[in-house]
Amino acid sequence: MGLVEIGIVLIKAVVVFACMLLCVAYLTWLERKVLGHMQVRCGPLRVGWHGLLQPIADGIKLLFKEDIVVSSANTFIYILSPMIVTGAAFAAIAVVPFGDQIEILGKKIALNIADVDIGVLYIFALSSLSVYGITLAGWSSNSKYALLGGLRSAAQMISYELPMGLSIIGVLMLSGSLRPVDIVESQDVWYIVKQPIGFLIFLICGFAECNRNPFDLPEAENELVAGFHVEYSSMKFALFFMAEYAHMIVLSALVATLFLGGWRGPVLPGVVWFMLKVFALLFFFVWVRATYPRFRYDQLMKFGWKVLFPVSLLNILVTGLGMVLWG
């Protein structure tokens, strides 16, 4: 690999990271705005035009708040866990393709940071590691609410990772590859058409993986105060928040890549299509939050193991049958 290639990869990484940070910041604005309007309120309005500068104000506020480390906490792990969560969430975007190859100055540039053969598995591996951040945050804070939140998140994420992994096997069977670029290129018809059940299961499990409503039991405000991050303040708290939103973005990007044809679409350039799809999914995330109440814990477990898991297995079977019959 020459210097030019290394430079290109570095530039791509920096640009994508900056975009992610910006998106995370403005996703908080979007969420508050959309939630507000859905509940017949205005949402943030004072800072900037229609509250557009609110995320920046929030960021500055969080940076300058007192950084509390609980005296009875396990300090090293207490500090380590927000880093794990954020690192895992942001690193996952590296293998997602934003668009088709483009040519700049006669050089072909692929619009993803890393073109990995096992890209889909890479994202799954990272998201399985981010559980540790949340679980350990709960444990190391040495507080009963945080511990309960951490335990819940561990149980929830294990239960929903399984059907999530199984739900995309249909897509992988159809495309015959684990490489995100190959999967997008094999979608002449979007996989949401061929794999509607897989899509639904993946989306539901995605909500659970992000700890989003209706699966936000690890941080249920009204029973656990704030769950695993109850003892965190200042920027460490902000890191958990950023990780949650980054996780949502990665998940939306993954859904767009696996089921909605990635960057492909008529007329508009690929990157625009990709952004549109991701934005639509993010809006859906917020919409669901405004609509549904929270699950009870036993309902959540029962739903994961007794409904999603068998259905996703059945989906694989049906996909296989279909491929043999109509292949």
Binding site: N74, I77, V116, D117, I118, L121, Y122, F124, A125, S128, L129, V131, Y132, T135, L136, G138, W139, L147, G150, L151, A154, A155, M157, I158, E161, G165, L178
Partner: protein
């Protein structure tokens, strides 16, 4: 480059494996074990076995160790209570067993090296995902299925054991 990475990862994994045994706090031990697993995954990557590396992280680091942590946290284990044995005796016994094991590894390593001229031919194939899948579903189909039945038996055994109490 590969050599350097291999040595870093090897040293880190050995250090954390030893720390896992020495730590008094079970959660810290579990964390050390996770680091060892991650180092193993990197070693797989260095050998060109991407699929194995990803599965190593997803299954061992991601699922099994989360369950370990879950149980440790659920039982709320405190620091391990000092066992009333004789630490010096344990130290001597441990170090002698350890050095014996190292000697054994060195010996077997030598034997393998002597044999590798005759037998090292078929290991190169199992690199990427497709090669692994092909081998699993053709040559190693029987062991693969037998392993799954073994796991099924373990699951049923666990359910029976758990069911008796309740």
């Amino acid at each position: 480059m590969e050599q350097v990475l291999f040595w870093i990862c090897g040293v880190v994994s050995i250090v954390f494996a030893v720390m896992m045994i020495l730590k008094r706090n079970p959660v810290h031990s579990a964390l050390c074990l996770i680091v060892v697993f991650l180092c193993l995954a990197v070693s797989y990557l260095l050998l060109g076995a991407e699929f194995l590396a990803a599965v190593q992280v997803i299954v061992y680091a991601g699922a099994i160790m989360v369950l370990f942590l879950f149980v440790i946290m659920l039982l709320n284990l405190d620091d391990e209570v000092h066992s009333p044995g004789k630490p010096r005796m344990a130290l001597i016994a441990g170090s002698s067993i350890g050095s014996g094991l190292i000697l054994l590894f060195l010996l077997t390593g030598g034997v393998f090296k002597a044999l590798s001229g005759t037998r090292g031919a078929e290991k190169v194939v199992a690199g990427n995902t497709q090669a692994v899948a092909e081998l699993l579903f053709t040559k190693y189909l029987l062991p693969f299925e037998v392993t799954s039945i073994l796991l099924l038996a373990a699951i049923i055994g666990a359910i029976v054991l758990a069911g008796k109490k309740g």
